[in-house]
Symmetry: C2
Subunit: 230 residues, 2 copies
DNA sequence: CTTCGTCAAGAGCAGTGCTCTCGGTTTTGA
DNA sequence: TCAAAACCGAGAGCACTGCTCTTGACGAAG
C-alpha cells in the first residue's frame, strides 16, 4: 500500500478542507469556533465532522499545532535570512517576524498565547512546536557566545535561581551562562508582551508609529542582552 | 430619598450577590460564565438575572471593572507601603503585588489580560481603571526624576517615535524624557508578559523557584530603567 | 458478487443566551 | 387611603451549541 487508496486520499482532503474552513471561521468569528457552522459551510451536517475529528477540541488542537509551526517557520526563516554574524540584525528579524505573523493571524495568535480555554488542556504534541520561537532567540545568544561577541553579564545569578536557569540551559542544550540566558528569557517575555499588548488593543490609540515603537522596544532588550550592532 | 427604599436596598444586595456568585463560577469554570448556572446557584430562574444585568456581557463588564480596581488597589497599596525615596523597592513591591493578585485571581486576570472575548468590546468605563497599574509604575519614574535620582538614558529617541512617546507622557500628565518613559513601558510590558507566562503555564515545569525568577526579571527591567538601589 | 468498513444524514439530548408574557408585590402619587 | 405605576420572579419558548446514536447508501476488498 505505497499508493494510498482513493478513500484515504479523499479523507485526507476532507481533513484539510475542514481545517481550512475552520481557520477561516476562526479569523472572522474569533475563538468560539462552531462545528455546526463549519459543517454548514461545507454543505455537510454537523455529525459528519465527527468522522474526521473526534471532538471540537481535537479540531482546535490541530489548528493550534499548525499555527505553532507556521509561527515557528516564520521566525526561523527570518532568523536564517540574516548574516549569522549579525546578531542584532537576527534578533530584530526574528522579533519582527513573530509580530508580523501575529498581526496577520490575530485569532490564531490568540489561540496560542491568549488565555487558555477553560476545559482545554494542550496535549504534549504542542510543546515542541511551541518552543521553536524562543529556541530561535536562544540560538542567537548561543552563536554570539560561541563567536565571543557577547560579553556575559558581570555578576552571576543568586543561588537558588542559578541552578534553575542552568538546568533550563541544559534542557535547551545550549551552553550559556545562566545570567545571560535569564536576559534572553526577559527578551522573549518582552516580545510576547509587546505583541499581545498591540494585538489585544491596549496601546494603539496613543502610539501611531507602531513599527518604530516595536523596533525600539526590542532594541532595548537587545541592549539588555548585550547584542552588538552589526 | 436620602434613605434608599427597601426595594433599592435589596436590589443592590441582589446585584452584589449575583456578582459574587459569578465570581465564584469564574474561578472554578473559567471564562465561560453561564448565566443559567449562577441563576441556579441562587435558586432563581435564568430570566430573573436579566432584571439586574441586561446581558451576560454587562455582567462580565461589571466583573472586569471590579477586577481592574482590585488589581489597581493592590498595586497602589504596595507602592505606597514603601518609603517613597526607595525607588527600586517601590518598583519591586508594585510588580510583586500585581503578580500576587494575579496568582490569587487567575480567572479574573485572564479576563483582564487574556485574549479578548470575540464579540465583546470593553466599554470606556474600563480604560481608566485599566491604566492604574502602569500609572503607578510611571509614578515611580516621575518621583525618581523629580528627586534627581534617575539618570535619563543618554541618547534620545529617533524622531517619529519621540513625538509619540512625548504625547503619551503629556497624556499621562508626567514630565518624563521620552526615552525614559519608553523604558518604563518596556518594564510594564515585561511585567505583563511575566505574569501571563507564569499563569498560562509556559514556564512552570522548568523553574521551581518562581518567586526568585520573578524578582530577578523585574530587577533586570529596573536596571534597564536605571532605578537606583535603596 | 458478496461482505465489510466507511460515510453522510437525521433525530435527539442537554445545555446556552435571550425574549416575552403572566401574575404578584412594592412603591409612588393623587 | 387607594388606585396607578413600577418592579419582580417564574415559566414557556426560540435559536443556537457540542455531541451521540441509528439508519441507509456507497465503495473497496475477498
Amino acid at each position: 500500500m505505497l499508493a494510498p487508496s482513493l478513500r484515504a486520499r479523499v479523507r485526507a482532503g476532507m481533513i484539510e478542507e475542514i481545517k481550512a474552513v475552520a481557520r477561516r471561521h476562526l479569523a472572522t468569528d474569533g475563538a468560539n469556533l462552531s462545528l455546526r457552522a463549519v459543517a454548514r459551510d461545507m454543505g455537510m451536517v454537523s455529525s459528519a465532522i465527527y468522522r474526521y475529528f473526534p471532538s471540537r477540541d481535537d479540531l482546535l488542537t490541530a489548528l493550534i499545532l499548525e499555527a505553532y509551526n507556521a509561527l515557528g517557520d516564520a521566525v526561523e526563516a527570518a532568523d536564517a535570512g540574516v548574516d549569522q554574524a549579525d546578531l542584532r540584525g537576527r534578533w530584530h528579524a526574528a522579533c519582527r517576524a513573530a509580530r508580523t505573523w501575529a498581526l496577520a493571524h490575530p485569532a490564531e495568535y490568540a489561540l496560542l498565547y491568549g488565555s487558555p480555554v477553560p476545559g482545554y488542556a494542550a496535549p504534549d504534541d504542542t510543546v515542541a512546536p511551541a518552543q521553536r520561537p524562543p529556541e530561535t532567540l536562544v540560538g542567537i545568544l548561543r552563536d554570539g557566545v560561541a563567536a565571543g561577541r557577547i560579553d556575559p553579564p558581570g555578576e552571576d545569578l543568586p543561588e537558588p535561581l542559578r541552578s534553575d536557569v542552568a538546568e533550563l540551559a541544559a534542557l535547551l542544550a545550549v551552553d550559556l551562562p545562566p545570567a545571560l540566558l535569564a536576559r534572553g528569557m526577559a527578551g522573549w517575555t518582552q516580545l510576547f508582551g509587546l505583541i499581545s499588548f498591540e494585538l489585544f488593543g491596549r496601546i494603539n490609540r496613543t502610539l501611531p508609529h507602531r513599527d518604530e515603537y516595536f523596533d525600539h522596544q526590542t532594541g532595548l532588550m537587545a541592549d539588555l542582552i548585550g547584542l552588538p550592532a552589526t
